[in-house]
C-alpha cells in the first residue's frame, strides 16, 4: 500500500539550519548534513532543504551544503530557495539533489517549470506555494520572497496552473500556521489536494501526531512536512510515525 510520507525540512541560512515562527525570529538548530542523516536514520521518508538566506552572499554556500548533505543520503532529497533559472536548477541537481523546489521564480515565469521538467523530469520539480488566508474574501493568496510579497494570486488556481506547466508535486505551506505548532491548515490543504492530480505536501503548523493524522485524513494530503517539531527533540520521528500508524494511517514503518 502506498504510504503517507513524513518529510523532515531543514531551513538553512548561510549553511546552518535555523527555525523561526511565521518566517521570523530565527534560531540556530545545527549542521544540515548531520541533521539530514539523523532524520533519515530515524525514519524520515524524505528530506527537504530550503535555503532561506535573505542575503545573496550567504547563498553561495548552498551548493556546498547540498553536496555535503547528499553524499550519505539515500532517500529523496529536495532543495529549494533562490532557484531562478534552469542553470540554477542544474547546479543543484549536480550537487546531488533529486528534486528542486521553486516558488517566486515559477510565479514570475511559469514556463520555468516546464523547462526544468523537460530536462530533469516532472518528478524532479516541486512547486512551493506559500499561502495565506485572505481576511476579506474566503480564499488563500499565494506569497513570494519568503512570505514577504503578496501576489493577489489564488493559491488553489496557481496550484492547478503549476500542474498544467509540468510540476510533479506541490509543497503547500500555510503561512498562518507555520511555526505555531497548532496544526496544519486542513481546509487549505484539502482545497488544493482535491483540485490537482499530483501529490500535495502539507506544511506549516505541525505540533504533534494528531496534526499529521488530521491532515492526511481530512486534508487529503499525500505527504506532510515539518521542521521545528524534529529539531529540538520535541518529538522523535520514530515515535511520531508509530503514533500516526497506530491511528490507522499507513506509514513506512519499520523503515
Amino acid at each position: 500500500m502506498l504510504t503517507k510520507r513524513i518529510i523532515a525540512c531543514l531551513d538553512v541560512d548561510g549553511g546552518r539550519v535555523v527555525k523561526g515562527v511565521k518566517f521570523e525570529n530565527l534560531r540556530d538548530a545545527g549542521d544540515p548534513a548531520e541533521l539530514a542523516r539523523e532524520h533519515s536514520a530515524s525514519g524520515a521518508d524524505e528530506i527537504v532543504l530550503l535555503d532561506i538566506s535573505a542575503a545573496q552572499e550567504r547563498r553561495a554556500t548552498l551548493l556546498d551544503t547540498v553536496r555535503r548533505a547528499a553524499r550519505q543520503l539515500f532517500i529523496p532529497f529536495t532543495v529549494g530557495g533562490g532557484i531562478r533559472t534552469l542553470e540554477d536548477a542544474a547546479a543543484v541537481f549536480s550537487a546531488g539533489a533529486d528534486k528542486i523546489s521553486i516558488n517566486s521564480a515559477a510565479l514570475a515565469d511559469p514556463t520555468l517549470i516546464a523547462r526544468i521538467a523537460e530536462r530533469f523530469g516532472s518528478q524532479a520539480v516541486v512547486v512551493a506555494i506559500d499561502a495565506k488566508r485572505s481576511k476579506a474574501t474566503s480564499h488563500w493568496e499565494a506569497f513570494t520572497h519568503g512570505g514577504r510579497t503578496g501576489t493577489r494570486r489564488d493559491a488553489v488556481v496557481w496550484a492547478q496552473m503549476a500542474e498544467y506547466h509540468g510540476a510533479g508535486e506541490i509543497l503547500l505551506t500555510s503561512m498562518d500556521r507555520d511555526g505555531t505548532g497548532s496544526g496544519f491548515d486542513c481546509e487549505l490543504t484539502r482545497a488544493v489536494a482535491d483540485s490537482v492530480r499530483i501529490p500535495v505536501i502539507a506544511s506549516g503548523g505541525a505540533g504533534g501526531a494528531e496534526h499529521f493524522v488530521e491532515v492526511f485524513r481530512d486534508g487529503h494530503a499525500d505527504a506532510a512536512l515539518a521542521a521545528s517539531i524534529f529539531h529540538y527533540g520535541f518529538s522523535r520521528l520514530v515515535d511520531l510515525k508509530e503514533q500516526i500508524g497506530s491511528q490507522g494511517i499507513s506509514v513506512r514503518w519499520p523503515c
Binding site: T3, D45, R71, F74, D98, F120, G121, P199, D222, R252
Partner: protein, 196 residues
C-alpha cells in the same frame, strides 16, 4: 567498471552516488565504447518513454544490446526498466528494446497518478537481485506508467492493481522503483547487483 548510461534523461548523480557508497568503480557515460568495455551496465531513466529514442541515435542501444548478448549483467531503473519491454502507452511510436514481452500502461483513473512515494514489495524468494529483501519491504517509487505483470516478474507492487516492481531473466534485471533512493533496502538491492 559499471557503466551508468546517460542519454540525456535526467539526473544520474544519485545513482552514481549509491554505487560510490558501495565502493564500486562506476562512471556516467554516453559513449558506446565505454558501454562496450563495461563489466555491468545500468540504464536509469526518469523522463518520458520517448526520451529512450535517443539511445538509438547515440549508438547506445546497439552497445547495450551487444553487452546483453555477451551476458553482461544489465539493470534498468524506472523508465530504464520500462524500456526492456516492447513499448509503452506513453509514447506508442517509440520502440522498446523488447527483451521482455508486453506493453507499459497507464494507471487506472481510480488512483492518483503519478504514483509517488514509498510502497511495499511482494518478493519472489528465488530472485537473485532481491536476495535478502523480505516481502513487505518499502521502496521509493515515482512514475506515471507501469510495466505489466509478466513471467519475468520477481516483485510486484499494488497501486490501482498489481504491476511489476522488479523483473529478472538470466542476467537481465529491472526495477520500477528507485533503489538509489530507497534507503537500506535499495542499497542492499544495488549491492546484490554488484555482487553478480
Amino acid at each position: 567498471m559499471i557503466a551508468i548510461v546517460d542519454y540525456g534523461a535526467g539526473n544520474l548523480v544519485s545513482v552514481k552516488k549509491a554505487f560510490d557508497w558501495l565502493g564500486q568503480e562506476c562512471a556516467i557515460t554516453s559513449d558506446p565504447k565505454h558501454v562496450a568495455k563495461a563489466t555491468k551496465v545500468v540504464l536509469p531513466g526518469v523522463g518520458h518513454f520517448a526520451s529512450t529514442a535517443s539511445l538509438g541515435r547515440l549508438g547506445l542501444q546497439a552497445a547495450i544490446a551487444d553487452a546483453i548478448g555477451r551476458a553482461v549483467p544489465f539493470l534498468g531503473i524506472c523508465v530504464g526498466m520500462q524500456w526492456m519491454f516492447e513499448r509503452s502507452q506513453e509514447s506508442p511510436e517509440t520502440q522498446g528494446l523488447g527483451v521482455l514481452n508486453g506493453e507499459c500502461e497507464r494507471f487506472p483513473a481510480s488512483v492518483k497518478s503519478p504514483h509517488v512515494g514509498w510502497n511495499q514489495l511482494q518478493v519472489d524468494p528465488s530472485s537473485r537481485l532481491l536476495r535478502g529483501v523480505p516481502s513487505a519491504s518499502f521502496v521509493y517509487f515515482t512514475h506515471s506508467f507501469r510495466a505489466p505483470v509478466s513471467h519475468a516478474m520477481v516483485a510486484c507492487c499494488e497501486y490501482g492493481g498489481r504491476f511489476s516492481a522488479a523483473v529478472e531473466r538470466g542476467h537481465l534485471f529491472g526495477v520500477q522503483f528507485h533503489p538509489e533512493k530507497s534507503g537500506e533496502t535499495g542499497l542492499k538491492i544495488l549491492g546484490n547487483f554488484c555482487g553478480l
